[in-house]
């Protein structure tokens, strides 16, 4: 059996993390997340000769985020999933439906954000990028990252000022069995 090549190794080592980020970006739409990752990795593959292996993940990550924000891809993706007779209830993969339902809570709050707000939250708090790196990744100003982030946190009911203990106190005060 042939030795797995560089690219295959990269795919198997990076696709999980990318997929998790993509599922957050899409607000829990796992079918779209899967598609997003496949598309991004395909672009990494096309650029593979130009990419140094230590940059590959960053390149793939940036591609996932930018594809997520690219409306042309949205039109195309929808165009790809069509059939002549209208599909059975879901246009998405049925296997995912249970997962979608279970993951509804945070995903639901994430869906209330705009696409850019979601991107900022995922880059900052899931992929752990700094404000500057987030700005560079999205091609927007640092100030825009800050204001977008503040808006997103407010919508998610996350307080940037609240620290651990304060929250613990609130939790203990909540009635048990709620």
């Amino acid at each position: 059996m042939a030795e797995p090549d560089d690219f295959a190794v990269f795919v198997s080592s990076s696709s999980h993390r990318l997929f998790r980020a993509a599922s957050l970006l899409t607000g829990g739409d796992i079918a779209t997340a899967d598609d997003l990752v496949a598309d991004a990795l395909a672009r990494v593959y096309l650029a593979w000769p130009r990419i140094r292996s230590d940059d590959a993940f960053a390149y793939a990550r940036r591609t996932v985020v930018n594809l997520h924000l690219d409306w042309r891809r949205l039109l195309r993706r929808r165009a790809e999933t069509l059939t002549d007779s209208v599909p059975e209830r879901s246009a998405r993969n049925v296997d995912y439906s249970n997962d979608v339902a279970q993951r509804d809570s945070l995903a639901r709050s994430l869906r209330r954000l705009t696409r850019r707000e979601r991107a900022v939250v995922v880059l900052r708090y899931f992929l752990d990028l700094s404000e500057e790196a987030t700005a560079a990744e999205l091609g927007i100003a640092v100030g825009t990252v800050k204001s977008t982030n503040a808006r997103a946190l407010a919508k998610l009911r996350v307080s940037p000022d609240l620290t651990g203990p304060a929250r613990a106190a609130v939790t203990t005060a909540a009635p048990i069995g709620e």
Binding site: A21, R72, R89, T114, S159
Partner: protein, 504 residues
């Protein structure tokens, strides 16, 4: 309100995605890469061709062509022509992921397919990049009202806090013009369209918004009966009995009773409609003729219907006799065959407009470099009416008996859950005033399962869908300052003893 800390957010994001696994093979990625490369080559080739062709066009014609317009992102506006609904650029705030993102599909469908559209046959991408200003029929106020009532993510909506597996969809159409004032096919404009379908640039139908209409389809059965000269006061046997193609164990059943003779017997056509009785309406369909019922539905605005094996039939392109009974049997009169939410709203608009049929549409005007290059087609006010004034008065009277005092003519409908006829899977409420036509559906997001409201009660058309419909009609009329005129008093025209009925 309990706030989360940043650390808790980080943990929640981790937890949220903890169980996710992706088996992405390098081979799948390579295959996709090859497709992308092929597409890039094709785009490059096409661009070269277009530049060459455009150059030739400019030199040959010698005049300024209307198309292509200045390149740049196309902007789509609400009906006021100034409020942006979506700007088709690559920014994250282009609106495509919001409920009105679904409207964009219908707009592109219309412009790339409609007769008289200068963009007919154009690719969606070229329309999006053509720098056009597209004014839609969507009224921002009406759209907001509809979303606030149907969108499950909006805090005080009727769907808020209901089972997460449930989905609502709705459409509001302006009578006599066919302008779609509001359209809700789901919260995610990039997800499923639960209110209808559109045809993409490859000619493929996309969307999931068609469902069995159940008793809501009886509007057309009743309208066909009135047109055929049957009186609201004609009487029909409502107790289950052997009927053509439905005998013995296979007899049609009712989901409710005739109030004036609850133990069985005959029921007036009027009361049969108010109580959504399947048995008498099936006999009415047999008597009037299923082809005539289908014709009525089609002429009112039901453009598309699906067969039992889910084949889409464009009713405008066929003669009723070609498809009845081969594809649609007598059962059509009590709503077995799926139709879209948008078509139901459009059909209601026809009755609201005194029988004047318009085509539901999403685009009012398109301008390129300041010049109007496309404008909507409205119906000829002199075109023949679907029903005469007396028949319409009777129809509206019968339908307003379900909502006495509200001034709304409405019909509910419910279709049972496949695996348990005591549960429901689809619930409708469709209706109109002289100023507004509305259709609301409540059903399942994914797999079919019993519809239960947040109190655990079975959902019927008269429940959630009607609550939404009333809210939408009242609030939209208030927001738009519409003052509907009252329906004309019923004339009770027609034959008291038509064939198939019981002597009065």
């Amino acid at each position: 309100m309990i706030m989360m800390t940043i650390e808790e957010l980080r943990r929640a994001l981790e937890d949220e995605t903890m169980g996710l696994r992706l088996n992405m093979s390098a081979e799948r990625v390579r295959r996709r890469a090859r497709n992308i490369r092929r597409r890039r080559l094709m785009v490059a080739a096409a661009t070269t061709l277009m530049v060459v062709a455009a150059a030739g066009f400019f030199t040959m014609s010698g005049t300024t062509p209307i198309l292509p317009a200045q390149a740049g992102p196309t902007t789509i506006y609400y009906s006021d022509g100034t409020t942006v609904l979506s700007r088709l650029d690559s920014s994250s705030d282009n609106g495509l992921a919001t409920p009105v993102g679904l409207v964009v599909n219908h707009v592109l469908d219309e412009l790339s397919h409609a007769d008289g559209s200068p963009l007919r046959g154009h690719s969606w991408e070229s329309i999006a990049n053509g720098g056009y200003a597209i004014t839609t029929t969507i009224d921002q106020r009406a759209q907001q009202v509809l979303e606030q009532a149907t969108d499950e993510t909006v805090d005080n909506s009727t769907m808020y806090g209901q089972s997460r597996t449930m989905q609502a969809a709705g459409a509001v159409v302006e009578p006599a013009t066919g302008r779609v004032l509001a359209y809700f096919g789901g919260h995610d404009g990039l997800g499923n369209d639960y209110a209808g379908f559109y045809v993409n640039e490859k000619g493929e139908a996309t969307g999931v918004g068609r469902y069995p209409p159940g008793a809501s389809f009886m509007v057309y059965t009743l309208a066909a009966a009135l047109k055929a000269g049957y009186s609201l006061n004609s009487h029909w046997l409502w107790t289950p009995h052997d009927q053509p193609s439905r005998t013995g164990a296979n007899q049609i059943r009712n989901a409710s009773r005739c109030l004036s003779s609850p133990s069985g017997g005959t029921c007036s056509l009027l009361e049969s409609i108010v109580s959504s009785l399947n048995v008498p309406l099936y006999d009415v369909t047999v008597s009037v003729g299923p082809g005539r019922v289908l014709d009525m539905a089609r002429n009112a605005g039901i453009d598309t219907m699906w067969t039992d094996d889910r084949t889409r039939v464009d009713l405008r392109a066929v003669d009723a006799n070609q498809v009845v009974p081969s594809r649609f049997d007598t059962i059509l009169g009590i709503g077995q065959y799926p139709v879209t939410v948008l078509d139901q709203a459009n059909a209601m608009a026809t009755f609201a407009a005194g029988g004047l049929r318009a085509h539901a549409h999403f685009v009012r005007t398109v301008t390129a470099a300041g010049d109007v290059v496309y404008a909507e087609t409205l119906p000829d006010p002199d075109q023949p009416r679907l029903l005469n004034a007396a028949q319409l008065a009777d129809l509206s009277y019968a339908l307003s008996q379900s909502a006495v005092g509200t001034g709304v003519a409405l019909k509910t409908g419910t279709w049972e859950y496949k695996q348990d006829p005591n549960q429901n899977a689809h619930a409708w409420s469709i209706g109109y005033t002289s100023a507004l036509a509305t259709a609301i559906w409540v059903g399942n997001k994914l797999e079919e399962q019993p519809l239960l409201n947040r109190d655990g009660g079975t959902v019927w058309g008269s429940g959630l869908p009607t609550a939404i419909l009333r809210r939408v009609v009242t609030d939209t009329q208030a927001q738009l300052g519409l003052q509907p005129t009252a329906f004309t008093a019923p004339a009770f025209v027609g034959e008291l003893n038509p064939p198939g009925s019981y002597p009065n």
